[in-house]
Each structure stands twice: as structure tokens, then as C-alpha cells.
Point group: C2
Chain length 81, copies 2
């Protein structure tokens, strides 16, 4: 069973890395981009035989404790079958 946890900055939190990427894209001549915000993605392989509800709870705990800083970041957990 596979899962993906996506961690993104909350709205209103400054993202200097995203701003830098925006600038770099402009200087590379790629137009039409208004804003870039960078986040992280964790592709997680779950141990065989785990049940979906339990896995989701464990991943939420993982995101709260380690993967995301919930003061400034949002996270989304998706378990794929």
C-alpha cells in the first residue's frame, strides 16, 4: 500500500525560495507565471497487510510530529488503495 503526504506553506507565510524560483523562471524567459510556492512531498510505502484507516491515522501522526511544521504548514494525506 502506498501513500503520499504533501506539505505546503499556509497562505500568507512568506516563501523566499518560491520567490527565487519565480525570478529564475523569468530570467530563463519562461513567461506567464504569476507566483510559485514550494512545498514537500513524501512518498511512503506502507508495510504489507496494514489496514487503510490505521495507516491514515499513523500518517497523520507522522505529519503532525515530524513531516510538517503545523504552525506554518498545511499537510494532506492520501492513501492509495
Amino acid at each position: 500500500m502506498k501513500a503520499r503526504v504533501t506539505v505546503t506553506l499556509k497562505n500568507g507565510i512568506l516563501d523566499p525560495q518560491g520567490k527565487a524560483i519565480e525570478g529564475a523562471l523569468k530570467s530563463l524567459g519562461i513567461d506567464g507565471i504569476a507566483q510559485v510556492r514550494q512545498g514537500k512531498v513524501f512518498d511512503i510505502e506502507l508495510a504489507a497487510g496494514a489496514d487503510q484507516a490505521k495507516a491514515e491515522a499513523a500518517l497523520k501522526a507522522a505529519a503532525d510530529k515530524l513531516l510538517a511544521n503545523t504552525v506554518i504548514e498545511n499537510y494532506k494525506v492520501e492513501v492509495q488503495g
Copy 2:
């Protein structure tokens, strides 16, 4: 118009960061996780009035040139209406 570019390591490429997260989750007592691989996600806001096909082409160019290292990374571009 919004888009998301997800950059992940290719299969077979070592991911020491993912390994470290795996170890940290185990030591936090979160069980049932077999493997973690970390990637990046870019949430991109496109300039108003951009058409979808053009935007997708521009984002592919951006990923090839800047956002991903295509020697070791795969990327996926999703344009949301």
C-alpha cells in the same frame, strides 16, 4: 489558473533524506512504514488569460530547465482548469 509540478527521485536513486525520515518515524514509535522517499512540489499560479496547452508547455520547459534534475528526477505537471 493554477498548476502543480511534482518532482520525485527516479527509482533506484538513493534517497538519504528519505532514509533519515524513515528512521526518525520509527524512533517516534510510528509503525507500519516500510519506505519513505522525499520529493518536491511547486504550486504555480499562472498569469490570467493563459491558455491551458501553452501553460502546460511552459511548465514542462520550466521543469526541464530549472525545477527538476532530469538525470535523477522525474516530474509531473498538472494544470487545474
